[in-house]
Subunit: 338 residues, 2 copies
């Protein structure tokens, strides 16, 4: 049985990441983690006629790869948790419909990777599942089309805007394998934080208070400090949001994150030479970085304990036009390498 401390959950079982796959597109290949991804897919390689279908295909191939790496098959999977940014999470529905795995749709905006991991870990802890997949994806073109402007329009982007990653991540979770896999020790499902930010092109600012709350609340719940972690990794706050997070944590909670904090949105692109403004974003940003680069470092012993605090902005293309602010959320998962 898991134990609850405050709003944080400590798992009793060793919830193992048996295997994972992080895949991305050509723009991401040119970034600093280009050689870390399991696979790079060009648009041509993904085939299909539409960006939405390419996104589904990217997810399908990434999940296939993660399951293949686990040494098991889709039939061995008791559950798959997935969601994405497309309206009604259709990248997941269409990408995963062929697997025949019991499918639970999840929506956490860009924090979805953490939420699917929490759901999968909880299902394994409950005894209801032996093996479960957690995954998500995003695609630059389908996201721009749906949330912003037609790509053909070539609109100017603001300095605070982030670049939606074309990428996907998938992890196969299990327990009791007897192998030295990285494990999920604990999790923290976030609460919605809405400080009234109304600029939908500055999602880093909208999400930073949620990340601050989740990271600091987890530390209070579990009597931990930043130095207990080798890395505190936010999802995709980008440059603007990462600076705000560190300021907020220090000012409001006296917690200094400098030196231990990094952000997937800053890691995935070359911030100097790639034209991504405030950094990467999208469900596929933190998912592809976590399921490739970070999992490799945990497996190689280069990282021992990692807090992965993915972040999401809970808006739609309609809500800012109706005068709504942008609610933020952050869900955290604590990993330990064996």
């Amino acid at each position: 049985m898991a134990v609850r401390n405050g709003k944080s959950i400590i798992f009793e079982k060793k919830i193992e990441i048996v295997s994972s796959a992080g895949c991305a597109g050509e723009m991401e290949e040119k970034g600093p983690l280009g050689t870390e991804f399991d696979r790079i897919f060009t648009g041509k390689e993904l085939g299909k006629k539409t960006w939405e279908q390419k996104e589904s295909e990217l997810l399908r191939r990434t999940v296939s790869l993660a399951i293949e790496k686990s040494g098991m098959t889709a039939e061995d999977m008791d559950a798959i948790y997935s969601g994405d940014l497309l309206n009604q999470c259709t990248a997941s529905a269409f990408g995963l419909r062929g697997f025949g795995i019991p499918f639970s749709g999840v929506y956490g905006a860009c924090s979805t990777m953490a939420l699917t991991l929490i759901n999968a870990a909880t299902a394994i802890e409950s005894g209801g599942c032996m093996n479960a997949v957690a995954c998500t994806c995003s695609h630059f073109c389908s996201a721009e089309k749906q949330f912003r402007m037609p790509l053909e329009y070539g609109g100017q982007r603001t300095p605070t805007a982030q670049w939606t990653v074309t990428g996907a991540g998938a992890a196969v979770l299990s327990s009791g394998t007897g192998k030295n896999n990285p494990v999920i020790l604990a999790a923290h499902t976030g609460t919605i934080c809405d400080l009234g930010i109304k600029d939908a092109t500055n999602m880093g600012a909208a999400m930073a208070p949620a990340a601050k709350k989740t990271i600091c609340d987890f530390m209070k719940d579990t009597n931990t400090v930043p130095s207990d972690f080798d890395l505190i990794l936010t999802g995709d706050l980008g440059a603007v949001g990462s600076t705000l997070l560190r300021e907020l944590a220090q000012k409001e909670d006296g917690i200094v994150l400098d030196g231990v904090h990094n952000d997937c949105g800053l890691m995935i692109f070359d911030m100097k030479n790639q034209d991504v403004h405030s950094g990467g974003s999208g469900c596929g940003c933190s998912a592809s970085v976590l399921c490739s680069h970070i999992m490799k470092l945990l497996r190689r012993g280069k990282l021992k304990r990692v807090m992965f605090a993915a972040t999401g902005a809970l808006l739609s293309a309609v809500s800012p036009l109706q005068g709504e602010s942008v609610p933020g959320i952050s869900h955290a998962v604590i990993f330990e390498g064996q």
Copy 2:
């Protein structure tokens, strides 16, 4: 620890429905269950400027009422699981942001009520949560606007089309209260079924194979037959889908559902005198019926064992225009009155 039989999960703990609330709009008040709902809200009573905001407010008030009826407060809730049909599930994000409860977004289209219940029950079984809320909602006007035509256009609807319910349902789950609450015995997370239906105005046909699969698979997994249940209640197959479900179950699995099966989409409206074509639909349809009428019957001993198999069509407004078929899914929860 929960036990898994095939794809079905049998909970070890008594997962109790401590309280629930089902609320709806004026059109639903005129239906056969009009007096069963906990509250009826007119558009004026909900206030707010937009249909989307009214939907959020309907969810907010329904969740407030369910928590109030539990004798607890929002601070006592360890988790809230919610999702809806609005793009990026914004009815849930905006409706629930004020509660301060750890928020897990769920997407199951019209099957969302069952999926939130399964997630909440699993979290309680795992030990990670003591009390959890499962909820969802839909609104006729926001759904028509987003998925179909501007209401002002007054477009003709096809005979197979369903009418999106303005309604919401919320349930507070807990364990070990010592009271005689209805309990969740078991659950079955569905797999995606896509038989190639491309008519987005005939979602009953798209969802019927998924409902058939979930209901029949659960019975095979648990060695049960239709007569073990007082009611097998599908979400919102409507008239077309309900007929198809019974035909499919009999032809393909030899399981006769006649007499024990009913459908929330058929129960919520007066099928003769209300102009709803094939019946009700939307996340709020099965949610409002389950959380009011059905829970009352379970509490009063009028129903002993109920299989609630909510159904969802995993499409978006874009996917049929890109030539995609409509994938269906059905998630089941088994309730027992004490």
